[in-house]
Symmetry: C2
Subunit: 344 residues, 2 copies
DNA sequence: TGAAAATACGAAAACGATTAAGTGTATGTG
DNA sequence: CACATACACTTAATCGTTTTCGTATTTTCA
């Protein structure tokens, strides 16, 4: 950064017009003649001019930069399969619209900045939040600020949120499992402090109730998201039950692989002896045989919609309607849930 | 962003001192009295002051922002397991040092900005490049610019680069396989236009030669990185050979799972009937049984080192020595390579 | 032809921060 | 007591843009 940048002033000198004119020419204002515009642009090109984002931001209060807050409990936002896909899609859409993406973090080095402080400091035009502990007061502070915000997988009063359709997802999954003949269905669910878990669990109960099936309490166990080890242990307990389930649902595909391990350890076959279903539809789940029965999240649409809505809100702070958008996943039948005789 | 920010001027008024004094107080300059500093800080806090990154950047030519260029052939830098881990580690280290992370992209909306233009526009203090087509002229332009650069997994004359140790990785892996009794070892390698592939392939040949084993040409086949399907097909061909290998290496764990599929389809057991080895050590490879025999990349160290070196270079543009740093992975023995009788 | 309107450009302030140089006061020194 | 030094500030310029308000020139049209 040692080299001085070429600025409007340099172009102005080279062109013999004022700085104001150069600025307007480059921004295609209507009060500059065609000839001048062309000349200015040409010289700008020759001189290797690049606008200075900082100066622009300072003057216009617009950074064309979106802050991203992605922190999960394991502190691995980026390596989280589901969220990295969502983020990737978000990023693509945002870039198409001329926005850059910068991560928000609670800066420890400076004045121990809060998320909000950081966002203000960087002057983000808007912020997308996902995969965080929504109970964190810092997150709350950010959400309640007057920076345009979109949240993913958690809804807030008076904010735009994009949610994957967990109700329908679980319903589709359970219904399919039911149709395959299963009546003894267990659910290793993620921990319940999140909206996601709550809706899935509710949907699980509702769907089975509608189907006229009752679920023994011991079929419902908690295990952290993305934890193969805990899922493995939970699975063994389920298999040891006097009346074990014929099919087990997991919080996500990762955890479901833990289930695979437990089942194989018992020398049981999937899906002949026991059926397993995941959630999310991560790449490997759809590649490793037996192909996982799962709900494939539409991460692409989630990310894209989040970006579109946020940008909409940025450009139109008053006119954009606050809504909660739900995006459906699709059932991937796979091979890990098998058809069984309905004994009943 | 409608609200006007509280600026130094506001503090200055409230404190009854000049703006300069406020600035210096906040930056802990030595020519401000202790009492004034405290008073200024207190009032700044009360007023909810946040520095303005744009103004600071404009004045100081420092953004405390690092640009990240991550684009792979599938255009999915973020969802790429290995790189997302490296990036995550890079990000953590950079944040610790007070830097933010912003993605570089070839902006289509503005003047079809090149990577370099984008970097200049945003005034990145430095740039990290990985996972890209290093033959792309735009990448070349960026690397040759006078912006501090660190590259990952590709080395350039006169630039700092961080590379995972592919030579040693393959050597360790092959040696282990040899020690397990295997003499007929095939290698489904990634495509050869990258430095990574070249060193691995070279190391494969060298190691086996040192061990006194010769490799039939038909044991060496190319297949894209992270492509289970192609690896699956390649594996079937290898298994159909008149004298099939007893162990197959893959470009990465993803591809190795493709091998798993092919092997299982033939009703062969891993590792009793055939052995398989991956590369990278992705999470699932170390969780799904049979545990994959693989080289676990030290993504944490790679990312951390890249960040440390880049920041070093930023703070010390002349004094930092240009070097190529190689970071070793570790052999994960796993269960997918079995011991066999050496028939010879 | 003369006034109004359109056209093309410029001057200057402003955004929020940093910093070199200058100013006035208190303290120390011989 | 005179002078140098240290201390604690302030003044003012500056970073690169944008934008409001003028102004000078040309065009339009009754």
């Amino acid at each position: 950064m040692a080299k001085r940048m070429v600025s409007l002033k340099d172009i102005s000198k080279a062109c013999g017009v004022s700085v104001a004119t150069v600025s307007k020419a480059l921004n295609d204002h209507s009060d500059i003649s065609k000839e001048t515009k062309e000349r200015v642009r040409e010289i700008a090109e020759q001189l290797g001019y690049h606008p200075n984002a900082a100066a622009q931001a300072l003057k216009t209060n617009r950074t064309n930069n979106i802050g991203v807050l992605f922190v999960d409990e394991a502190n691995s936002g980026l390596t989280h399969d589901y969220f990295s896909h969502v983020l990737d899609s978000f990023k693509k859409k945002a870039e198409q619209e001329g926005f850059d993406i910068t991560f928000i973090n609670g800066d420890k080095t400076r004045n121990n900045m809060s998320y909000l402080s950081h966002a203000i400091y960087r002057g983000f035009d808007g912020v997308v939040i996902a995969c965080v502990d929504f109970l964190d007061p810092q997150v709350d502070e950010l959400i309640k600020s007057n920076i345009p915000v979109v949240t993913i997988d958690h809804s807030f009063f008076n904010r735009i949120s994009i949610m994957s359709d967990n109700i329908k997802g679980i319903k589709d999954l359970v219904t399919y499992i039911y149709e395959m003949g299963h009546r003894k269905i267990a659910y290793v669910h993620g921990y319940e402090n999140t909206a996601v878990t709550q809706s899935r669990l509710a949907s699980f109960y509702n769907t089975l109730q509608e189907l006229g099936i009752n679920v023994p309490d011991e079929y419902i166990v908690g295990s952290p998201y993305r934890d193969t080890e805990k899922a493995y242990e939970a699975t063994k307990k389920l298999l040891d039950l006097p009346d074990p389930p014929t099919c087990i649902l997991y919080p996500d595909d990762f955890a479901a692989f833990g289930g695979f391990n437990a089942v194989r350890e018992r020398n049981l076959r999937i899906p002949e002896d026991i059926s397993i279903a995941g959630y999310d539809g991560i790449e490997l789940a759809r590649r490793i045989s037996p192909l996982m029965t799962t709900i494939v999240q539409n991460t692409d649409k989630i990310g894209r919609t989040a970006a579109a809505k946020l940008i909409d809100l940025i450009n139109n702070p008053k006119g954009t309607l606050i809504e909660q958008i739900v995006i459906e996943g699709t059932l991937e039948k796979g091979e890990s849930v098998g058809r069984i005789e309905t004994v009943k």
